[in-house]
């Protein structure tokens, strides 16, 4: 009742256009008919819900967050809140969503290209710091899967903003040949339960204890299985065999990747005293192969490196091309690989972006 009264009195402060729907119309169907959804039902954005969502941030509804590609439309905090309602967010997710959107709008994230590409990519959202626990994000069992409201809806809201505010729709500016289920949402938190582990946020220059959102241009999920290796050196080489296959085994220095390291795989590294730096270095080195083995034209396969690189030792990635993130349930010698956007030749102007969450 209190919310209904608030909407009656404060509804007038909202500036977004009112869209009338018939008295007997189903509001969920009305949202579908207006093209506001990603194909799944959305929560209809009533004044009550939008006002409640705005209570999750101290920022003013009228504040401009940025211009959303492809059509570079202005996006206010109020528009973010409306799309957060559609996605099913709770008000306390707003600071994370706003930070994710700010990260996506950094020029070096290249959101327009990520949307328009024929490749599989979309923003992958990785959350660090106390905010993740505070809003109940999942970094454990099934962290990359369904079932957790914050994981599911923050990623979804970001993609809905691109669709609804930016105008980026499949078949229009979104030219993905096949797309990927991760274009609905791929958002999770890093497992920071081990004090020996350097969180992704710290590796990317933020103070320990800061809450951050890191955005990566990628898709999910490639499985990595190794249930037999027990040494860090062997496990890294084993990862290397899977990493070199991304996209195509002969495609090199074309994309980044995120390795989501499960607790059981991590234990092998930890017991040997390895941390983030050692693991990322070893994985990079494990993907270096003689150019002669991956030449274009070998076995009648067109893909590959040119003859001129035959004598080179060729790495799969650039040196900054791998990010390791810890997540997952306690059981299972499986990890996951999230392949990045195939735009490696532009890697300096195309990078993951991390932003601090402002509460």
């Amino acid at each position: 009742m209190a919310e209904r009264l608030e909407a009656k009195h404060k509804g007038g402060t909202l500036l977004s256009r009112k869209v009338e729907i018939g008295e007997n119309a189903d509001p969920v169907e009305a949202c579908f008919e207006r093209g506001w959804t990603d194909g799944l039902p959305v929560t209809p954005p009533t004044d009550e819900r939008v006002l409640r969502m705005l209570s999750g941030t101290r920022r003013k509804p009228i504040e401009l967050v940025g211009r959303i590609p492809p059509y570079l439309s202005e996006c206010t905090v109020e528009k973010v809140a409306i799309n957060a309602v559609l996605a099913g967010c709770k008000p306390e997710y707003m600071p994370v969503l706003l930070a994710a959107l700010e990260a996506a709008l950094e020029p070096v994230f290249t959101l327009h290209g990520v949307l328009a590409t024929t490749y599989f990519s979309s923003p992958v959202v990785i959350v660090n710091g106390p905010i993740a626990k505070k809003i109940g994000m999942n970094a454990g069992l099934n962290a990359l899967g369904q079932g957790n409201r914050a994981n599911a809806t923050i990623g979804r809201a970001l993609n809905l903003i691109v669709r609804n505010v930016g105008g980026g729709r499949p078949g229009e500016a979104d030219r993905a040949t096949l797309g990927a289920p991760s274009k609905f949402t791929l958002c999770f938190a890093e497992d920071e339960s081990d004090p020996a582990w350097e969180p992704l946020s710290v590796a990317r220059g933020f103070a320990p204890g800061a809450s951050t959102v890191t955005l990566f241009q990628g898709h999910g999920v490639e499985a990595f299985v190794d249930q037999k290796t027990r040494t860090p050196e062997g496990l890294s080489r084993s990862f290397g065999l899977s990493l070199v296959k991304l996209g195509h085994p002969r495609l090199v220095q074309s994309a980044r990747a995120v390795v989501v390291l499960s607790p059981e795989h991590y234990r092998i590294y930890r017991e040997a005293g390895w941390g983030r730096r050692e693991i990322e270095r070893a994985l990079y080195e494990a993907t270096i192969r003689p150019g002669s083995e991956i030449l274009a034209g070998l076995d009648g396969i067109g893909e590959g490196v040119p003859q001129a690189r035959a004598a080179e030792q060729v790495p799969k990635f650039h040196e900054d091309g791998l990010m390791v993130v810890r997540a997952g349930g306690q059981a299972g010698l499986f990890s996951a690989i999230l392949p990045g956007w195939l735009a490696g030749r532009n890697r300096l102007e195309l990078q993951p972006v991390t932003k601090e969450v402002r509460e």
């Binding site: 977004s16 256009r17 009338e20 009533t46 290249t110």
Partner: protein
Amino acid sequence: MSWLRDPTAETSAIKRPRVKPPATLEGLTIGLFEIGKTRSDEFLDQVEKRLAERGLKTKRYAKPTNAKVAPTDVMQRVATEADAVIIGLSD
């Protein structure tokens, strides 16, 4: 009657008529626009050669990278200097 709040940018697309293709290319400057995809330069080299064989005037333009939209100054140069443009859109 009930209402919802509009989640879109509230902009309606304005449809503009397309510019009519020129009746002839004689005497026009044809822009050859490279979008930064692999081997687009080779493709445009061939196109340029063919057009030159027909005595037509061409001018080359390029985006710094295919991952981003063309910078405004490049778009403005194309718009002011070229009468028609050929863009190679794929690898």
